[in-house]
């Protein structure tokens, strides 16, 4: 069974390029426009990875992570945060919220998959 990945990003183009790259690599992808939208996927079904943008309307990436981590099934699920800078503050905040790691934009497919391999197989 292919790994299930949830993508949360408010930019449609980023969502699509992520979905495109990940589907090509054999993952199954669910996309959400923002944190609130993403939450609907976490209804107990098996999800292998959450890939979320940092800045998003409604529920931002960190708020989303905190919410998802509170749900029993996703306590140990890997979560990666998309951010543009290797800002210590942002990364620390993300990690404190429960993120597993981060992915710096811009990235290419190779970098994306390489980072993913750090947290899922």
């Amino acid at each position: 069974m292919p790994k299930q990945i949830v993508i949360a990003d408010d930019s449609e183009s980023i969502r699509e390029i992520l979905a495109f790259s990940l589907e090509n690599a054999g993952y199954e992808v669910m996309v959400a426009r923002d944190g609130l939208d993403a939450l609907r996927f976490f209804d107990g079904q098996s999800i292998d990875l959450l890939l979320t943008d940092y800045h998003m309307p409604n529920l931002n990436g960190l708020e989303l992570i905190v919410k998802v981590r509170q749900i029993e099934n996703y306590k140990f699920m890997p979560i990666l945060v998309l951010t543009t800078e290797k800002q210590v503050d942002i990364i620390r905040e993300a990690r404190d919220s429960g993120a597993t790691g981060w992915l710096l934009k811009p990235f290419n497919t190779e970098k994306l998959l390489q980072t993913l391999r750090k947290v899922i197989r």
């Binding site: 183009s13 979560i79 790691g101 981060w102 934009k105 811009p106 990235f107």
Partner: protein, 623 residues
Amino acid sequence: MNSFVEKFKVEVSEYFERLESGLLQLEQDKENLQVIGEIFRIMHSMKGSGGMFGFDLLSDVTHDLESLFEIFRSKGQTVDSEIISFTLNSIDGLKKLMVEHPSDEHQLLAAKLKSDTQLQITRFSPTNLDGEFGQLFSNNIEKGNEPNQITYYISFVPDEDIFSNGTNPLYLIDELNALGECNIQVSFDRLPSLAEIDPVKCYTSWYLFIATTENIETLQDVFIFVANSALIKIQKVSNENVIHQEAVLAAFLNAEINQETWNLVEPELPEPERNNEIVRPEEKEVAGVLLKSSLEISKNSGFTQTTVDSIRVDSGKIDHYMNLVSEFITAQSRLEQISSNLKNQELELITETFGKLNRQLRDNAFDMSLIPIESLIVRLKRLIHDLSKSLDKQVVLLTEGMETELDKNIIEKLIEPLLHIIRNSLDHGIESKNERLAKQKDPIGTISIKASTIGSYVQIEIEDDGKGLNFEKIREKAAANGLISIDAKITDEDVCQLIFEPGFSTSELVTDVSGRGVGMDVVKRSVQAMRGSVELVSEKDRFTRFMIKLPLSLTIIDGLLISVSGSYYIIPSSVISKLYLIKSDLLRKVSNPVIELDGFELPYLNLHEEFDGDGKIQEEQLS
């Protein structure tokens, strides 16, 4: 790929529109942090996406613009008109840069936009140089590839709770394995006895040799996500591949304790409690070993020992504990009842001891889940700080009794209502500086929060010295809504309670300030949901005061067990003010049943009648 680019172009044109309208809004209201935040966020998105889709110039310029707005967003500087028109001009420039194959002309334009932006940035932060230099240096470090295989020794000791953020350490070992030839040892030294094993903890450590052509930075990069949740050590063993030379490896391990040339993977995110600000080159080894534990630091480097007098416990565990204690109390009450029926002296004795212990256990559990109100005040301070700035009102916050403790569940649920009230006070209560001066009040407004414990209740008072409620308007509105009749003569005190009625929007009513209509009924509802109450007193142009009364805890209620006509009822102790033992001849019935107590005639109810009993009071129950 092209369809993505097209999508992106559409997106960017939307971004441009939103930026422009945001900037124009900012022109009217230069301190609107929400708009500044939105502008910042759009710049940030454009920067990130621009690079993804090959619009590097766009990405470059927005990077600088983002830094510029960061100054206004979080460094407390205020936007001026020059910034707004400058940014609008830059957006026009950015539109020209939206080409897939930029010419020299485009490069020039981008460079100009960038240098102009830098000028603006220096205008607001003349001494801020460190960040840029830092970047310059880090960019200059070249990753030289060494052709020869080098052997490294890596020890990887994850923290026990490394799984809790979704990390699987095995993947990192796999990643290393892909970088070169590995000789891996797994250690289960930390594995506790079977009974103590927590299945969600990591007890495994890895020690490995790797022969690789990659440089040490690449190896460190493998651990980048876990640099703060594991003890990682990477040392060079040899400048060639010695992975099959067991003797060399063994000799290395033996000498390892005295090794001085190893490299520590510096934690990506330093944490103060790890004391790694003391890491200096000559102390590296000491610090490296001790990075794990501040206790050991004090042992080896003469730091004063800090005694640990508190531990952190997951709040879920406390909740669970409280639930168990509640169950326990219920079981114990049943035991007590059975024991009193059986009249077995031995049983009664042990039940009594049991009860005593139980009460202590309960008090102890109860105490554990209490946290001081102080923890909540930070949030309120923040709101007051932010909002008073955006409303251009000067306000000081006075607090009293912040050490008062409340159940943490109540504290959590209290945040929203308190934020509501404070927001309302700031927005509608406290007047602007000029208005206050005209009323001969202190130009600086005051909001005070007082907390105190009264019996098994905590009372929280929130008071502002603003304009108070507009009683007339509330009456009008209430009459219009049919809550009271038009000619009803109700006191100001009663009028105050009206604003807690559902659907009673106070937005355009109590105040002339338009905007958020804060539904006070929500406040009342959430306080009542915690078995608390809220009251309001106000005096025109003097003050508005909210008084919230809350039970100390949600989990355990002290109660008085009574039996009426064969059924048992529990009355929470918190609503009982006094108990009297009464002979039935004290009961009188004039037009209504009354009883004379402490010199007052008070109405009473006969519960036996009320609960469908025969109404006959058995005298022996009263004696």
